[in-house]
Amino acid sequence: MESVDLIYKAIYILVIFGITLLIATYSTYFERKIAAFIQDRVGPNRAGPLGLLQPLADAGKLFFKEDFIPAKSNKALFIIGPGIAMLVATMSSAVIPFGDSLIIGGHEIFLQAIEVNIGVLYVFGVVSLGVYGLMIGGWASNNKFSLLGAIRAASQNISYELAMGLSLIAILMMTGTLSLREIAEQQQGFNWNIWYQPLGFIIFLVCAFAETNRTPFDLPESEAELIGGYHTEYGSMKLGMYLFAEYINIFVASAVMATLYFGAYNFPFMENLRSAISDPVLANNVVTLVGVGVMFAKIFLFIFFFMWVRWTLPRFRYDQLMKLGWQILIPLAILNIMLTGGGILLKEYLF
């Protein structure tokens, strides 16, 4: 690798990291705004214009609160817990292709931090590590409710990862690759995977809600039953890290869904735009930049959907959650695999 590439990669990773954190910060603001709007209120509007400085005020408050560690807790693990949650959450956006390639000075630059040919597996592996943060934190608190929350988080994530993985297999069978970039490239224009995999998408969406511990699957942190679940004993910025990690996970889940099912940076009439501009370099760059915008628009729509659902649906009961995961989603995902396989065979037979 050339040193120019290395510098570019470093800059790109920093930018993606910054964007991830920024989006997570402002997710808290928009969560509150959307909650308020759905409940016929106006939400935070005092800190700065339209309340836009509210996340900074919240962060300032969290930083200045007492950094409390319970006396009977396992101190090291108590501190490591939110750290792992945060680290893992920020790691997973590395393989997501936010855009196609830019050409600057004859140099082709891909808008993706790391191109690995097992991108999908990487995301899955890293996201499933996230549950360790919750488990360690919940266990180290030395508190029954925290432990219950941690156990719930673990069993829920494992259960739904199965259905999620199975729904993904159908996509992998169709595309024949594990690389997120290639999956994105195959969905040129309006040829998105959602048109071929509607059932798979619904399963994936439900599982994504469960994986990110969002309502209606927020049983690990249900405040009514478990007084906050795994983060009962946490305060100050350590609590902030947990909440932050959750929002980053939502962002990553949205990005993965947009990449796998909604064509990533592809948009309709992409080729028309490309051929409308005579200079090929400029055309490529314009199409890529519009593509990045489209990608983020898709991500924001998904984030909005996450919040919209949160303020619509009540929480599941735990047995309902397990029943939905094991008895409905997994058989449906297997059915989806068989249908996809049949479809692929039929296509080969016909053409």
């Binding site: 959307i34 709007f37 759905i38 409940q39 509007n45 919209w308 659902v309 303020w311 619509t312």
Partner: protein
């Protein structure tokens, strides 16, 4: 058991349809309802900048009125204190001295006049009891929140209507 009235209705438990069991149509319906609320007009009143429209007979903070020549109307008869069901009003009466005719209308006046806003229930009985039309509950002011209990005892400095300077000269 025999039904006590003829209004009881026999309910039959119906088998759920596939759409109901699939749960997704119901979710879509719920999302529609919340989205409708998302675009609705908000009920919030931005309080310090906007205030809710009050009724004409709304009873707020007390005021001790002056007459046309700027003299205090109150004669410290004590009827308001007697009428007050919450015993919020206390006063000390004093005699008007020569040369104070431009300050007090009657020969007797209130040296101190205090209303405890924590006790006051804003019933308006003092207003009704007053024979001199001296005390009124305003329709546009409220007793704001404060940190100390002492600050809720309003004396004459905060109760008496300010002089209309343009009229005295």
């Amino acid at each position: 058991m025999e039904p006590l009235t003829n209004r009881s209705k026999k309910l039959e438990k119906k088998e759920m349809t596939f759409a109901e069991r699939a749960y997704l149509p119901a979710i879509a319906q719920g999302l529609g309802i919340t989205l409708k609320h998302f675009f609705k007009k908000k009920a919030t009143i931005q309080y310090p900048e906007q205030t809710r429209q009050r009724s004409d007979v709304w009873r707020g903070l007390h005021v001790l009125k002056r007459d046309e020549e700027g003299r205090e109307r109150c004669t410290a008869c004590g009827l308001c204190a007697v009428a007050c069901p919450a015993e919020a009003i206390t006063m000390v009466a004093g005699e008007r001295k020569a040369g104070e005719e431009h300050l007090y209308r009657e020969e007797k006046y209130a040296v101190t006049y205090e209303v405890n806003m924590l006790r006051c229930i804003f019933c308006g009985l003092c207003e009704e009891a007053c024979p001199k039309a001296a005390i009124f509950l305003q329709d546009d002011k409220i007793a704001p929140a404060r940190y100390e209990r002492d600050e809720f005892i309003y004396g004459k400095d905060r109760l008496v209507e300010p002089l209309k300077t343009t009229e005295t000269k």
